[in-house]
Symmetry: C3
Subunit: 201 residues, 3 copies
């Protein structure tokens, strides 16, 4: 129930982030819907494939597909009105999506009896894989790999769950708060991971 609420918020945030990139790149309305969808569901789909979740699982998310569809539609119809609110709320919603998607991805992998490596990959892909595909399709350098700390928070979630450091409901709640706060601080205070550039060969 709580997961479902968080997933709705994350789905809206991811869908709209895809739609925004698509509109920035001057894609048509089909491209906007396509990129919104793939940002919301692409990470989970790849995770499913890599950890062996049956495909039927993917297609049982009818409700979330509709949430995604109508959020994108609303956003495309009233971009100016919604964009204003998006600036204040969008990144926060996105942080909720990042945290809850990553944690659910990790729990999925644990449930299937996979080792730590798989749990971490599942968390990272579910949390940040959609954004990665979004940027690749828009022909951009993936934001999650060079901007303010993003995918690392998904990795942290995967690590805590994969190591069994959190299990019960309260532990998961604390982890969720940690990840959301971490991400919020990252874009608020421009936390960046160290870079070490080398010249192109």
């Amino acid at each position: 129930m709580t997961w479902d609420m968080l997933t709705v918020i994350g789905t809206i945030a991811f869908s709209i982030s895809g739609a925004i990139v698509a509109m920035e790149e001057d894609l048509d309305i089909f491209g906007v819907l396509f990129l919104g969808f793939i940002t919301a569901f692409g990470g989970g789909a790849i995770r499913n494939i890599l950890i062996g979740v049956p495909v039927s699982e993917l297609w049982s998310q009818g409700l979330f597909f509709q949430v995604s569809f109508f959020s994108i539609l609303l956003f495309v119809l009233f971009p100016n009105i919604l964009m204003k609110h998006w600036h204040s709320w969008g990144s926060f919603f996105d942080a909720i999506g990042l945290a809850s998607f990553a944690m659910q991805g990790a729990l999925f992998a644990v449930e299937m009896g996979h080792p730590l490596s798989a749990v971490i990959v599942a968390a990272v892909l579910t949390g940040s894989g959609g954004g990665l595909i979004r940027d690749v399709l828009a022909n951009r350098k993936p934001m999650v790999l060079h901007s303010e700390v993003y995918a690392l928070w998904a990795l942290v979630g995967g690590l805590f769950i994969g190591m069994g450091w959190v299990t019960g409901g309260f532990g998961l709640f604390l982890l969720f708060v940690l990840l959301v706060s971490g991400r919020v601080c990252s874009y608020r205070f421009q936390w960046k991971l160290p870079h070490r550039t080398i010249p192109s060969m």
Copy 2:
């Protein structure tokens, strides 16, 4: 039998469209073959993975692999001669491929008992997924997401089949004619879907 004929036409068209992009991007002969193949078979492969078709299905298309290989080879050997005919026939063949691939993808998903969402995704990926991968590998913005109406016709095919609006052979024939005509009109008369651009943040 009829499907097989249409699939041959579509395979030729998609392979050559991949080869053309590869030659425009100055890839080597291996890259040309690679991009041709992936344009023809990439969409179907992703669809298979997402709706759970056994992998053996993918590898039973030996005949179509050969059709693809020899079309690309011929095109690379005689680009100037063939390019002339391609300008008149290429887009029409491509429309046939789009329509027949999308419809077969949708029928596949229906056969496997998937819900409407899966049928539509299967249609869109089978019809336009190859072109999407082609452009991503060539480091271009995906044509199917911002040019004249393309992937939408695949979606329409998926919708009609997924909703059960067409079933028998004649209904499928009419749908096929509709999709091909729709796509031909789109590039003939430059039908574009509405865009709503926003400035980059």
Copy 3:
């Protein structure tokens, strides 16, 4: 045992090639690790999916994950020292990775009873798929499709194994030597496959 040794060398080479591209593109330390990993394991993962290897296989490579992780870490910490050695050894190690990954991919596909087409695709993807994904994520035109002969050597490996021209240990050894030498000559003497460029439409 021998395969394991070669896989270690290939894993190191592929991981570091991913890390180098990531550092050239100014990704952060997470992006460097991510791109290193995906270069080393991405090709094999896609091959597994396309030829139907169970996902558990992917997650049983714990040792190689660690090899990858520590090579990347070392490289990021001491890029200047290691870069010097890398210029002399890197491409040679990479050739070993290309040959051994391609051959193992092909043998996998043969073992599963797939036809020649699948064996060749498995060889090409395992040998050069990681480099392909690396370049796509870094928003570059895939090196393996337009630079000195690369993926073709993987294809040759797949062809020899798929046709049953080599089977026993000695035949495999000779093929390995052929592929490595071929790749070394390719970058040493700038062997390129023919290009045939056409102007963009």
